[in-house]
Symmetry: C2
Subunit: 212 residues, 2 copies
């Protein structure tokens, strides 16, 4: 009895890459390949795979939402989140939604194969980095209510720098205008990205503009 697998991934290249990997393993069988949340919710329940490999950023919604919905219908199906970033918030949301594993897209094919096997054995596949983040987070004893909320508070300096980001200034300009080193600006940027849970200048600016 082979392990049946479904893929939810909008990037054709990545989906194909996984499909190739799966096709080379004799007891793996790819039975469904969806490009968005809508198709996933309509096709996967009927397919009832053993494992779903789920992207988070889909064109029409979040893979986390899709995970929650699918787990209601298929409680025995294991969902492995497959994403590019190690966003702590995403990890928790995905785990809460019922995902059993969390893998980075840059993982090797061997890692992907072993993760699927581990999943079926009841283990939780996770990169060392993600495991560390999860442990760190539990150490901090963060109440669940605080996690997804309005995000951590920025310090005055961080707000100052974020405002300059929102004027389009590059890092050098910011350093110059505040007479601090580029390294310091970068340190602040890292804190800002962390607190806003984003991964780029543009995302930070957008989040800032949203919340005025």
């Amino acid at each position: 009895m082979p392990i049946s697998i479904a893929i939810v991934e909008d990037d054709a290249d990545i989906a194909e890459g996984i499909a190739d990997i799966i096709s080379e393993v004799s007891d793996f069988k790819l039975i469904c390949c969806c490009r968005n949340v809508r198709t996933a919710l309509s096709e996967i329940p009927a397919a009832a795979p053993d494992v779903i490999i789920m992207d988070i950023n889909l064109p029409d919604g979040s893979g986390i939402y899709a995970t929650a919905k699918l787990k209601q219908l298929l409680p025995h199906t294991e969902v492995m989140i497959f994403t590019v970033y190690e966003n702590t918030e995403d990890i928790f949301q995905a785990l809460e939604a019922g995902a059993s594993g969390y893998l980075l897209k840059r993982s090797s094919s061997a890692k992907i194969i072993s993760s699927i096997r581990n999943l079926m054995k009841g283990e939780v596949p996770m990169t060392a980095e993600i495991a560390r983040k999860v442990i760190q987070s539990f150490k901090k004893q963060q109440p669940a209510a605080q996690r997804g909320a309005a995000s951590d508070k920025l310090t005055p300096r961080e707000v100052d720098i974020l405002q300059m980001l929102a004027k389009g200034y590059p890092t050098k300009e910011i350093a110059s205008r505040r007479s601090i080193s580029v390294d310091t600006v970068n340190t602040h940027l890292k804190s800002i990205y962390d607190k806003l849970r984003v991964h780029s200048r543009t995302e930070a600016v957008l989040k800032f503009l949203e919340n005025n």
Copy 2:
């Protein structure tokens, strides 16, 4: 009679760099060094230098504005704009404001020295790149009224990509969502930056959000 020079530049390192270069030329004399528009407008008229080396991005305003103001008071003083970008719009505005030269910050010290000398001889120091842009612009017979205006029209594809930029998607994501190569996205980005007259993703998004 040495050539007296004033510097308006907020970046301490760059200002020092120019100061060093000037100090090594026997008939150059640095008589004033300002960090912002306010100081420049209050100190330079009294100093009445032969040449002003003017940055565009100052903490409290534009060097182009400062140029216009100073040229009213000191019509015989030559202003050389000193900036990092070869923004065509800036070039014209600066020339309209009365600047006589335009140099990139990455110019060599020899280039800077010869530019100052040329300025005093009535020539217009300009990098080949900038000269080319100016000539191109005149070739296009762009009426002055059109230049600073709403910017060139974006193609449908460019608008599409700009909208994704404004959602914070990185280049890879955009390529993936439209099933085109990252190179193509970059080509579109270059066109968008050109047409919007900006130099970064964040600036493009801001300009887009401004004009809805």
